[in-house]
C-alpha cells in the first residue's frame, strides 16, 4: 500500500507553479493539435470549415510534388547541417582550447552569427553567393575567368547553400557548447595522456570525444529543433527556389496557411510533421526516462 502524505501546502504550491505550463499544455499543445488534426480532415480553405473530407487532404499532400521535394530537402539539409555544424563547432572549440591568443575575440566572432535572425542570415548569404555579384564575381575579378560558384541558382546544389548559411549561423553555438564540455574535462586526463606520450589528436579521438557525450547530445538536440523548424532561412535566401528546389516542410505549411489560403492542406502537412516528430522524440524520451529511472534507483 502506498502511503500518501497530505502535505497540502507544498503540493498546492507545486501545482500553482506548474499551472501556467499545464495551461499551455492543455490549451495550446493539446487543444491546438486537436484542432489542427480536425481541420486537416476538412476542405477548409481560408477559414476553418466543417466540410469533412476524411483523408483526402493527405492524399493530395503526398501526391504533391512540392511536399515530397520539401521532405527530401529536409532530410538532406538535416543530415548535412547536423554533421557539418557539429564537426566545425567541435574543431573550432578544440582550436580555441589550445591556449590561443585573442581567445575572447575569436569566440565572439564565431558566436555572433547566432544573434542574427535567420532572415538576416538568409539575406546576406543570398548576396554573397549570388553568381553575378557575389563570390563568383570576386573570383573572376581576381583573374580566374573560368571561376564558377553558382550553387545558389542550381536546382541540384541550392540546398547545400542553405546548409552553408545555416552552419554559419549555428556553428558558434555548437562551439560554445563544445568548449564548455572541453573545459569540463579533468586536467588529470590530459596529464595522464601526456605522460603516456599519446599524440594530441589521439587523445581527442580516443579519450576526449567519448567523454563529451553530453555536449554532443545537447548540441544535437538544439540543432535538430532548428532543422525541423527551418523556415525563415529558406524564405529569405531563396524563397524556395530555383523552382521548388529549396522548399522545406515548414514553409509549405506557412505558405498554404496564409498566402495560399488552403488551411486544409496546410494542417495536413503540419499534422504529418507532428506525427513524424512525435514518432522520433517519443521513443527517445521513453528510453531516457527508463534510463533515468534505472539510474535513480541506485
Amino acid at each position: 500500500m502506498l502511503a500518501i502524505r497530505p502535505r497540502l501546502a507544498s503540493r498546492l504550491a507545486a501545482w500553482v507553479a506548474l499551472s501556467p505550463a499545464l495551461a499551455v499544455l492543455v490549451v495550446v499543445y493539446i487543444g491546438c493539435t486537436t484542432w489542427t488534426i480536425w481541420i486537416s480532415m476538412t476542405a477548409s480553405r481560408m477559414l476553418p470549415s466543417s466540410n469533412f473530407v476524411g483523408l483526402r487532404q493527405y492524399e493530395a499532400l503526398f501526391a504533391n510534388e512540392r511536399w515530397t521535394v520539401s521532405v527530401s530537402n529536409l532530410v538532406i539539409f538535416g543530415t548535412m547541417f547536423m554533421i557539418a555544424s557539429l564537426a566545425l563547432g567541435f574543431l573550432l572549440a578544440v582550436a580555441i582550447d589550445q591556449r590561443v591568443r585573442a581567445e575572447n575575440l575569436l569566440r565572439s566572432i564565431f558566436l555572433y552569427p547566432f544573434s542574427m535572425s535567420f532572415v538576416v542570415t538568409g539575406l546576406v548569404w543570398q548576396w554573397v553567393l549570388n553568381p553575378t555579384f557575389g563570390i563568383e564575381r570576386i573570383g573572376k575579378n581576381l583573374g580566374f575567368a573560368d571561376f564558377k560558384f553558382d550553387w545558389i541558382v542550381r536546382q541540384d546544389m541550392v540546398i547545400y547553400c542553405l546548409v552553408f548559411a545555416a552552419v554559419w549561423h549555428a556553428a558558434g553555438l555548437v562551439m560554445a557548447i563544445m568548449l564548455a564540455g572541453l573545459r569540463g574535462i579533468d586536467e588529470d586526463i590530459w596529464k595522464a595522456a601526456r605522460v603516456d606520450g599519446l599524440p594530441t589528436w589521439r587523445v581527442y579521438v580516443s579519450i576526449v570525444v567519448p567523454m563529451m557525450g553530453a555536449s554532443f547530445a545537447t548540441a544535437s538536440v538544439l540543432m535538430a529543433t532548428s532543422v525541423v523548424r527551418l523556415y525563415d532561412l529558406s524564405v529569405a535566401m531563396t524563397n524556395g527556389g530555383p523552382g521548388i528546389a529549396s522548399e522545406v516542410p515548414a514553409k509549405f505549411v506557412m505558405d498554404h496557411l496564409f498566402e495560399r489560403q488552403n488551411i486544409g492542406l496546410a494542417t495536413a502537412a503540419a499534422t504529418s510533421m507532428l506525427i513524424t516528430v512525435a514518432a522520433v522524440v517519443g521513443p527517445f524520451l521513453y528510453w531516457q526516462s527508463r534510463r533515468r529511472a534505472a539510474a535513480g534507483a541506485h
Binding site: 553568381p131 553575378t132 541558382v153 527556389g241 521548388i244 528546389a245 495560399r260
Partner: protein, 410 residues
C-alpha cells in the same frame, strides 16, 4: 448620491468624446510600403483627411503578411475600417462567412457598375452584391524594352511572341542579356501567363483558368504555349534565379538587357531612373490575335463592424476611393490605370494611356489569373509552372498532367 451622478456624467462624457473621436477615424491595413507606393497611398490619405477624417495607417510589407494580419483581426473581432486585397478571390471566404459589409448601396448611388470594366466588376461582386471597391487596374502582361538597345540591334517593336523571339535571338548574338528575368515563383508564373494569353489567346486562357477544362490542357494551343515558354529559358542569364523583379528592370534601364516581361508597376523603376515612356523605354502587350490584356489590381474591402460610426466611415472611404480626381492622382503615382473608364487619362504617360484604352475595350479585356482562381489553386499552379521552368527535362505532357492536377486542388 451627488458623487454617483457626477461619475455617471463623467463616464457619459468620456464615452461621447470617445465616439466623437472614433467617428473621424479610419484604420487601413495595406501592403504599400515602398517609396512609390507610399506616395500613392498618401493620395487616399490626404483626400480622406481633407474630408475631415483621421487616416490611421497600418502598412505591412508583403501581401500575405498584411492579409494575414487583417484577416486574423477580422476573425478576432477587432477589424480595421478597411483592408486591402488583390482583385480576385482572396476575400471569398470572408464574404461566405459574413464578415464583410457590402457596398452595393453606394455603388448604385454612384452608378459605379456602368463605369468599371466587366472582369473587374465581376471580381468584386458576390451573389449580385459588390463587396469590395477596386481602386486600380494593373496590366500584368506588358513587355518593357529599352528603345536604345532595340535600335542598336536593328529590331522593330515586337507585336507577338514570334517577333519577340527574333529580337531575343539578336540580343543574344550581340552578347546582351536578351530577357531580363527575375527567377522567383511569382514571376515565373507571370511570364508563363503572359505567354499563355499571348500565344494561346484569350479563349485558351478562359478555358484553362476560367472553366478549368482538362481538355484545354491537352490542346495543341497549350502545347505551343508550353514550348514557347520553354524556349524563353534560353534567353535569360545565369543570375536570374532568385533575382528581384526590380533588379531585372534595372538591367533594362541600364541597357544590359533588351527587355523584361512584367506588370505595369515596373514603370515606377523607369520613372525613378528619370526615363520616360515612349522615349528611353517602350511598352507593349504581346498578342497574336488581338485581345488578352490581363487585368488585375487592388481592391479595398470593409469588414463587418457593429460600430455605426465606423460603418459611416466605410462609406465615406468607398466614395473617396473612386472619386475621379483621386483615381487619376493615385494611379499616376502607383503606375497603374484608373479603374473607372470615364476618367480623363490624357495627363498620364503613354503606357497608361495604352492600357486605359485596352481596359475600356471589352474585346481587349481579360481577367488576371487571381480573378479566376482561388489562392490555393493559384499557388498549386505556380508550383507546377516553377517546376517546369526550372526542370528542362520535363516534357510538355508531364507538365500538362501536373497542371491539371493542380487546377483540381481541393
Amino acid at each position: 448620491m451627488k458623487h454617483t451622478a457626477s461619475v455617471v456624467a463623467l463616464a457619459l462624457g468620456l464615452g461621447w468624446a470617445g465616439t466623437a473621436f472614433a467617428q473621424d477615424k479610419a484604420e487601413v491595413i495595406h501592403w504599400w510600403t515602398s517609396g512609390g507606393e507610399s506616395a500613392a497611398v498618401k493620395v487616399f490619405a490626404d483626400m480622406y483627411t481633407k474630408g475631415g477624417g483621421t487616416w490611421v495607417d497600418t502598412a505591412i510589407a508583403g501581401g500575405a503578411n498584411a492579409r494575414t494580419a487583417a484577416i486574423n483581426r477580422t476573425v478576432a473581432g477587432t477589424p480595421p475600417t478597411m483592408m486591402q486585397f488583390n482583385t480576385g478571390k482572396q476575400f471569398d471566404e470572408l464574404v461566405e462567412n459574413n464578415l464583410l459589409n457590402d457596398v452595393d448601396a453606394v455603388a448604385a448611388e454612384m452608378k459605379w457598375k456602368d463605369k468599371i470594366p466587366g472582369p473587374i466588376l465581376a471580381a468584386t461582386t458576390r451573389n449580385g452584391k459588390m463587396f469590395a471597391v477596386p481602386v486600380n487596374i494593373h496590366g500584368q502582361n506588358w513587355l518593357f524594352f529599352n528603345t536604345e538597345v532595340l535600335k542598336k540591334l536593328g529590331a522593330e517593336e515586337p507585336k507577338t511572341f514570334d517577333d519577340l523571339l527574333v529580337v531575343l535571338e539578336k540580343a543574344k548574338a550581340a552578347g546582351l542579356i536578351p530577357l531580363a528575368f527575375s527567377g522567383q515563383k511569382t514571376w515565373e508564373r507571370g511570364l508563363f501567363n503572359t505567354v499563355m494569353v499571348g500565344v494561346g489567346g484569350p479563349k485558351l486562357w478562359m478555358s484553362v483558368y476560367g472553366d478549368k477544362d482538362p481538355k484545354a490542357l491537352k490542346s495543341p494551343e497549350f502545347k505551343q504555349v508550353a514550348e514557347t515558354f520553354a524556349k524563353l529559358r534560353n534567353y535569360v542569364d545565369a543570375g536570374a534565379p532568385g533575382r528581384n523583379w526590380n533588379d531585372a528592370t534595372a538591367l533594362v534601364i541600364q541597357g544590359k538587357a533588351a527587355g523584361q516581361i512584367m506588370g505595369d508597376w515596373a514603370k515606377g523603376e523607369f520613372i525613378a531612373a528619370n526615363q520616360t515612356a515612349g522615349k528611353e523605354y517602350g511598352c507593349v502587350v504581346l498578342s497574336k490575335a488581338g485581345g488578352g490584356y490581363l487585368m488585375g489590381g487592388d481592391v479595398f474591402a470593409f469588414p463587418k463592424t457593429k460600430d455605426a460610426a465606423q460603418q459611416k466611415q466605410q462609406i465615406v472611404l468607398a466614395k473617396m476611393l473612386l472619386d475621379p480626381a483621386t483615381q487619376v492622382e493615385f494611379n499616376k503615382k502607383k503606375g497603374s490605370i484608373p479603374v473607372r473608364t470615364d476618367v480623363d487619362t490624357s495627363s498620364m504617360d503613354i503606357c497608361a494611356q495604352k492600357g486605359a484604352k485596352m481596359a475600356a475595350d471589352p474585346a481587349q479585356q481579360a481577367p488576371a489569373m487571381e480573378l479566376l482562381t482561388a489562392p490555393a489553386v493559384t499557388g498549386a499552379v505556380e508550383d507546377v509552372i516553377s517546376s517546369y521552368w526550372n526542370t528542362p527535362a520535363q516534357t510538355v505532357d508531364q507538365f500538362a498532367d501536373k497542371f491539371a492536377a493542380a487546377l483540381k486542388t481541393l
